[in-house]
Symmetry: C2
Subunit: 573 residues, 2 copies
């Protein structure tokens, strides 16, 4: 049987005594006097504490509830007839029943000496109020109430209780129509007396995403200003650095759990939709022998007697799969960029959702990519409605607008530039059809398209050759542009794709036009693939998962959408 | 309209002429004579060729089928009323219908001057015979037959045809009850005249898995001798290096496609089963700040001004997820080991299937892991029966035996050692209950268990502390062992798991017992996690996906189960 463990007393103060060589001065005497006074007070307090402890011990002697609370050990037993409940499925049938629940105790407070309230959280923001009151038969003692009322927030506990209707709905908990009348509570694992970050702070909007230490009151550098409400009330908000230093509390916040749940669904829907459309998953390697796309921003590492690189994209590998007759493939995995950019939009490791397919016309791939994204957006709007609302309560954003079915917005790059020239801001009056768009251009075009077509999602097709990598296939009807596209969310690129050159002669010619030696490392092996066999024409695209989640929710940083954001200055936790 | 492109003529011979200073000797005269004779023959042959070409050109002038064959261009048109077919779903309703098919031409041969046969493969070993015969109306000409009969194997083509019943079942193709009577054939992408590795060779069992170049006839070093049939017939088999140098042909082989299909299903079943059991997927990072498990065999890389490591396991991250209240999590992703082992069992990058869950008893996790593996094995036996049979036709193996439901084999480590001592080979008569098993011990135990319980899959539980990492929780009823288990397939470990210490004080004590400084880099951050909050008790395990696939099929090397095997000497392709 477990003894109740009281909270540890604060550590005794050990004032530093400075060495003094001279005899007692006036100042020293005054100091000694103050010291004596202080020590007298200290002794008094110690005596009071001793008396209180004696009283408590006397009371404990009379405690008939010692088997019903305390620290859990492997010998702790709960009633076998108590039903294990989950808060999401709690209902009227449980009323009056004896139940048990394992949960995080997120709050505890005494109400007088005989009653205490707690909030027990199972997952996300699914919490319920628990009440414990000393009773006449002694099965709940005052000591037990006091113990429960002083459990450190964020401890993990197990309770036994009966389910009751509260006198009025409990506003502070998501489960507002039931409460638990506790008959037992054991602390399975105690949180520290002082949390590095409280749950309230963890649930506030992150104030700052800089990698540099900065004052917490620094303004939020949102990707979209719209994301953050200006008002600050209640407990203070914290910077991303504080959140990452307190990773467990960061992740216990309901806003992070909601974001994680949405991310889980996006990945799942990507896979299930593609499976239904005949795609097969495969796994490209992370360790590769040559920098995959040109060599800039690539991580290098010693690899036995050689050097290895971390893959920047699965591009070549998904092409190999199609060349090998796999017809339609996708992969979901990490990709790496050694870019020293310290912005809320950048990470050094992120998750790519990639697909590649044999095509007769590159539009098949474009429609597949557009189709899977629209499927994801339309589905999560319904299946993650709760989670989206939760995120918006912390990071306000406007609803993500989608085109009606059959009215998808697909502009050519040239049409996009024309729109910018004719209806965009002054500075874009002379943009060219043959030069890539800048980020401000993309954003301005996003705003124009939203106004004109009422959608936050759209496709730009047929990019000019100069704006695409060497493997992009030229449009046979107009060699100034390629069969390559980007897709956008709220004016920000989340996908690049297109048809790839599958003829080795055409590929070599294009490489030379681009000023790349077809015999250079990595490139030669790539070109040779198309010489091994006859290659089916193919197209595909790559989606940034972190961006899809972040921009759908209009989060102020992509770091919030990642599980463990990696930035040039941060690899912890 | 495309002109048929004949196969390129072999390059003209350019014999080297050695410089000769002296006047014509007897020998030199003889040589000159021979040379003259040779050149006369050459001229004769040239004249014959010219005559043949002239004849061919004349015939070409009469060719009324030029629109029905040749190299495809973007202007090539197929009949709009032809139905696009897939070989897997071809049926009697297609008989007599005009269809089209895009496929790899895996074989072509002339039958006289007016008829040719081809084999058209869609995916895996799904191939069908095509026949083309010159006809009276000229829509199929002799030239067209000749063109089709000389298409290089492994070119990618599109055909238009009518579906017919063959006179007798076609033995050489999986689709044996139908054949295609070709009316059009265009080469979309031509294979080279000489393949680096033919499909027949690609479909043979790999002869050698050494990273060192070795003669192709070297004996197969199988993990299990049973895997390889001794007999060699037909085209030669090749080493793994040859396969990797010809990656596209390697992957076009039906045996590799079948292995890939099985791997896809294993991953899918792992995810779907866990989702149904309330698990949420998450993504651990690959780039980490400190070596995750002790520092040996870890890849290091320069990371801006610091150093980074590649994760050896997602262990700490899945624990963070459970501490954060995610209850049940899993992840599927790459892990890295910088181990300089050149064996058919080792790779430097492989795919981990990991789960972690909050538990009241560690057996919940053990049962979940056992459950998901049995679910995978039972399901693929049915859904991948074809693929398993295909693999066995190249890599023969005995069926993978499973325990009956409710009769799962779970021995303690001590029971396993006892079995070895009492019924195992002589050399294991004195094995200890408190020392880890060697690989030969594991294999011997696997054989004993198979004999005794008729299963190739089983669990060893309660490993001694010395055999487990510092975070393994001790058995409260017997502190000499841990609540940790391994799972085995055909006597080979594929899973390690157990309950983890969730109390920071217990964790520090164990670290000191193991001789690890709790303040060392990586370790300190880990211990601190458990101080941030109250941590739920949790357990889990990690499965090696490559091994599960390889040992289920009893392949001679785990490299065959990987998409792009990474070994200390090989990073290509």
């Amino acid at each position: 049987m477990a003894e109740p463990t009281p909270n540890p007393a604060p550590p005794a103060e050990t004032p530093e005594v400075a060495g003094e060589d001279a005899g007692p001065s006036k100042k020293a005497l005054k100091k000694a006097e103050a010291k004596a006074k202080k020590e007298a007070e200290k002794a008094k307090r110690a005596a009071e504490r001793a008396a209180a402890t004696a009283q408590a011990n006397a009371a404990a002697a009379e405690d008939h509830a010692t088997g019903n609370y305390g620290q859990e050990t492997h010998e702790t037993k709960l009633s076998e007839d108590a039903t294990e409940i989950s808060l999401k499925t709690l209902n009227d049938e449980h009323l009056g029943k004896k139940v048990k629940l394992r949960a995080f105790l997120q709050n505890a407070r005494m109400q007088g000496a005989k009653m205490a309230f707690v909030e027990l959280r199972e997952t996300g923001n699914w919490a319920i109020q628990g009440v414990v009151a000393a009773n006449a038969d002694g099965s709940v003692s005052r000591q037990m109430v006091k113990f429960i009322g002083s459990v450190n927030p964020e401890s993990f506990v197990v309770v036994e209780a009966t389910v009751e209707k509260p006198l009025e709905p409990v506003k502070s908990c998501r489960v507002s129509n039931y409460e638990l009348h506790l008959t037992k509570l054991f602390v399975i694992s105690s949180a520290p007396a002082m949390l590095g970050m409280t749950l309230s702070t963890a649930n506030k909007a992150v104030t700052n995403f800089s990698d540099e230490e900065a004052p917490a009151e620094a303004p939020v550098e949102g990707v979209e200003k719209l994301s953050i409400s200006g008002e600050v009330s209640g407990p203070p908000a914290a910077s991303m650095l504080t959140h990452l230093d307190n990773i467990v509390m960061h992740k216990r916040s309901y806003v992070q759990q909601a974001i994680a749940d949405i991310r889980v669904e996006v990945k799942h829907l990507f896979r299930s939709y593609l499976r239904e459309h005949g795609f097969k998953e495969f796994e490209p390697p992370c360790l590769i022998a040559a920098a995959s796309e040109g060599g800039a921003n690539v991580f290098r590492l010693p690899y036995f007697e050689k050097e290895a690189f971390l893959a920047q994209s699965p591009q070549f590998y998904k092409q190999i799969e199609v060349l090998a007759g796999r017809k339609r493939v996708f992969c979901v995995g990490p990709v790496f960029r050694a870019e020293n950019s310290n912005t809320p939009r950048h990470m050094t490791e992120f998750t790519g959702l990639d697909l590649e397919m044999e095509v007769t016309d590159y539009q098949e791939a474009l429609h597949m990519l557009e189709g899977v994204l629209l499927h994801i957006f339309r589905t999560i709007k319904k299946t993650c409605a709760d989670e989206i609302a939760l995120v918006r309560s912390v990071y306000p954003s406007e609803e993500f607008l989608l085109p009606e079915e059959g009215k998808e917005v697909r502009l050519t790059f040239a049409e996009g530039q024309k729109l910018l020239r004719e209806e965009g801001p002054e500075e874009f009056r002379n943009v060219s059809d043959f030069e890539d768009m800048s980020t401000p251009q993309e954003k301005a075009l996003g705003a124009l398209i939203k106004k004109k077509y009422n959608t936050d999602f759209y496709v730009l097709d047929k990019f000019p050759s100069d704006a695409r990598p060497f493997y992009a296939k030229e449009d046979p009807t107009n060699p100034k542009v390629t069969l390559a596209y980007d897709m956008f969310m709220r004016g920000q690129e989340i996908l690049s794709g297109g048809q790839r050159i599958h003829d080795p002669v055409e590929l070599e010619a294009r490489l030379r036009t681009k000023g790349v030696d077809p015999k250079s490392p990595g490139i030669r092996e790539y070109v040779d693939l198309f010489r091994q066999v006859g290659a089916p024409p193919h197209a595909g695209g790559g989606i940034g998962l972190d961006r899809v989640v972040a921009w759908y929710l209009n989060l102020p940083s992509v770091h919030l959408a990642a599980y463990y954001p990696r930035t040039p200055k941060r690899l912890l936790p």
